[in-house]
């Protein structure tokens, strides 16, 4: 009996000391942003479910000045610290150097060219332009007016990459289909003011755009609301009209007003009024980081760029609006995705690359 008890106790002790503590530090805004904080947390939950002995904790940053104290506190308690958000870059470099025995994972953080990435820090960022490219291509095929819109938040590198990719997708469509679709680009300068996103969208609709990409965090919710409000008024439908009615009206009128969601699948926020969402798989990146850190030998420090090739970015399955896109375009989209996976198209990520984009070498096999 005594032996059994001591065995159980020892086992418990050993197991508990093996518990692997994952602490996530959110960016300003915390959970509920339906964007990267939520996405990263979903990755942590996935790790808890699929990996042995993972214990999770979250620390919310209320202001940018919280980054350093929060990361330091997390480093004292945890085995793996996850920092989320582009703005946290400097803080995570700083703290990772101070706590060399703790693994750090930076989500949505680009390496800065003049800093050496510490051995215990893995950075994940995304090829947003590749996702934007696919979204822009589809949007260009759906637009009736030949004008698309883009509403950005602050002009940060990930947002800019979305913009360039989106415009590149439109340009590729123009070249391959001999079309002349234009893009109106606006930046609200904030991720927190949906009213401003809404007004900018109304303004772009007013100038002829009929599909607007909401690339602005919470500000983007205003874009989706503007699409719904303008669409409803145009179709003359009430707010609670069922999806079938919305789609029927679209075909009856031959045109409509749409938003494009960002980061996660936001199609459900206004079914029938969100054409598609341009997504990046933050959860997958977070999960991969945690899973690598569990066996220190496999932990890969440095920077990992997640693109179409590793299913890190893409577009939503268009659950409600797939019928609006022609089969021909869906087939072309699948082919472009395949080409991108095989690295056979160079999707531009800067203005200069965009200016010289030439996709005339692409020939569809059908």
């Amino acid at each position: 009996m005594k032996k059994l008890l001591s065995f159980v106790l020892i086992t418990l002790f050993v197991v508990s000391s093996f518990a692997f503590k994952v602490i996530m530090v959110t960016d300003v805004g915390g959970l509920g942003d339906k964007s990267f904080n939520d996405g990263a947390w979903a990755g942590v939950l996935m790790a808890e479910r699929l990996l042995p002995n993972v214990e999770k904790k979250i620390i919310v940053s209320n202001e940018q000045t919280d980054y350093i104290p929060n990361l330091a506190q997390a480093a004292k308690e945890g085995d793996v610290v996850i920092g989320v958000g582009f703005m946290m870059a400097d803080a995570i470099y700083n703290i990772a150097t101070q706590y060399p025995d703790v693994f750090f994972i930076g989500i949505d953080i680009d390496p800065s060219p003049d800093q050496v990435i510490p051995k215990n820090l893995a950075l994940y960022s995304f090829s947003e332009h590749e996702a934007g490219f696919l979204g822009g291509y589809v949007a260009a095929s759906v637009t009736n007016s030949g004008i698309l819109g883009f509403v950005g938040g602050q002009d940060l590198p990930p947002v800019k990459r979305y913009e360039i990719g989106y415009r590149a997708g439109v340009e590729a469509y123009n070249q391959l289909h001999d079309a002349n679709v234009k893009v109106i680009v606006g930046y609200t300068g904030t991720f927190e003011e949906p009213a401003k996103g809404k007004q900018m969208t109304l303004s772009q609709y007013g100038s002829g755009a009929d599909i607007v990409f909401a690339c602005a965090g919470a500000t983007g919710n205003g874009v989706i609301d503007a699409a719904k409000e303008t669409g409803m008024s145009f179709y003359n439908l009430p707010a609670n009209a069922p999806l079938e009615q919305v789609i029927d009206k679209y075909f009856e009128e031959g045109k409509g007003y749409f938003a494009i969601g960002v980061d996660v699948d936001q199609d459900y926020m206004a079914p029938g009024y969100v054409l598609l969402s341009i997504t990046k798989k933050i959860d997958i990146a977070t999960y991969e980081g945690i899973s690598n850190a569990q066996s220190p030998r496999y932990f890969q420090s440095g920077h990992k760029l997640m693109g179409i090739a590793d299913d890190g970015v893409g577009i939503s399955p268009m659950k409600y609006t797939k019928g609006l896109v022609s089969n021909e375009i869906l087939a072309e989209l699948a082919y472009l995705q395949k080409l991108a996976k095989e690295g056979r198209i160079d999707i531009p990520s800067t203005e200069a690359e965009l200016a010289t984009l030439d996709v005339s070498y692409i020939e569809f096999p059908f």
Binding site: I184, V185, Q199, E229
Partner: protein, 316 residues
């Protein structure tokens, strides 16, 4: 398109005026709320906090009942309660009104932050909620230009018109208004003449609570149909600027709010009409704030605050 062309194209489009109204609405409500409080001699820099709480309470009740009008009513009561706290400590206890109002902003932030998760099940923001309906006037909609501006606006627009007319009439055409202004200028004199200084000040502050809550509710359930924790993102402070620029007068405040709204609308329209490098767009986004500083700085000597604003009154 050159700058001059773009500015004129923007000014000639009805959309510019519609966007101006949309941006100005929350400032009109909150700014006139500020007028009511300050004209009776109690400064109220807590507009930001009251707006936040008003929008939140309205969202909560819409979330549970699905009826936006119940949300509107409860939001107004929420604003009233928060303003009552401010009124009580500043009138009964002669507390420093700036400190009290700052505390109020923090209370609103804390309460909302704490209650988001238990009530809506998520932090940061709610899902889309039923909005206060838009009012569509079909015959007006057919009129060119005017129809595009006024044809379809939120019910809050008509509430705002009502508030402007009501508050102008109340303050300048009724005995109560005269007493309110007297209390704000010289409470001793008013008291000597038998005016109930405390009562009038309570009325002013409570009115400001209701109106600021309306401003917050417009942002949350009139414009977008969603409450976010970071709302109203500084609009409460810009409303104070509108109040000062409007010379503590409801109609003046409305014009000031429209001016700030026009700056916002111009920024947005220029970005849409012109192809600009992103640095210029970032600068354009500062336009409303730059205008606030320039205008308030330029007018500060020309407007005059009620003499007893911010001074607690104690009976001798």
């Amino acid at each position: 398109m050159t700058w001059i062309q773009a500015i004129f194209t923007a000014l000639a489009s009805p959309l510019f005026y519609k966007l101006t109204i949309l941006s100005a609405l929350p400032l009109v409500f909150a700014g006139i709320g500020g007028v009511f409080s300050e004209i009776t001699g109690v400064t109220n820099i807590a507009l930001e906090g009251i707006m936040k709480l008003g929008g939140f309470v309205a969202a909560v009740f819409i979330f549970y009942t699905g009826n936006p009008w119940i949300g509107l009513l409860m939001g107004m009561i929420g604003g009233l309660v928060l303003a009552f706290l401010h009124a009580y400590v500043s009138i009964e206890w002669s507390a420093n009104q700036i400190v009290s109002a700052t505390a109020l902003i923090l209370i609103a932030q804390g309460t909302v932050g704490f209650l988001m998760k238990p009530i809506f099940g998520q932090e940061g923001q709610t899902d889309f909620l039923t909005k206060i309906p838009m009012i569509k006037i079909e015959p007006l909609k057919k009129v060119p230009f005017i129809g595009e501006i006024f044809g379809e606006l939120s019910a809050f627009f008509y509430i705002a018109i009502g508030v402007i007319i009501f508050s102008w009439f109340l303050l300048y055409k009724t005995p109560l208004g005269l007493r309110m202004r007297a209390v704000g200028e010289n409470p001793q004199a008013a008291d000597t003449l038998g005016v109930n200084v405390k009562g009038i000040r309570y009325f002013g502050v409570l009115m400001s609570g209701v109106l600021a809550a309306l401003g917050g509710m417009y942002i949350a359930i009139g414009d977008i149909g969603q409450f976010q924790e970071l709302m109203p993102a500084g609009k409460g402070f810009i409303a104070l600027a509108a109040m000062i620029l409007g010379n503590w007068n409801p109609v003046g405040t409305m014009w000031a709010a429209l001016l700030f709204g026009a700056a916002d609308a111009m920024n947005i329209q220029l970005q849409t009409l012109m192809e600009l490098p992103s640095e210029t767009k970032a600068l354009l986004n500062l336009l409303p704030f730059v205008l606030t500083i320039v205008v308030v700085g330029g007018f500060i000597g020309k407007t005059r605050a009620p003499a007893a604003s911010g001074v607690p009154y104690e009976k001798e």
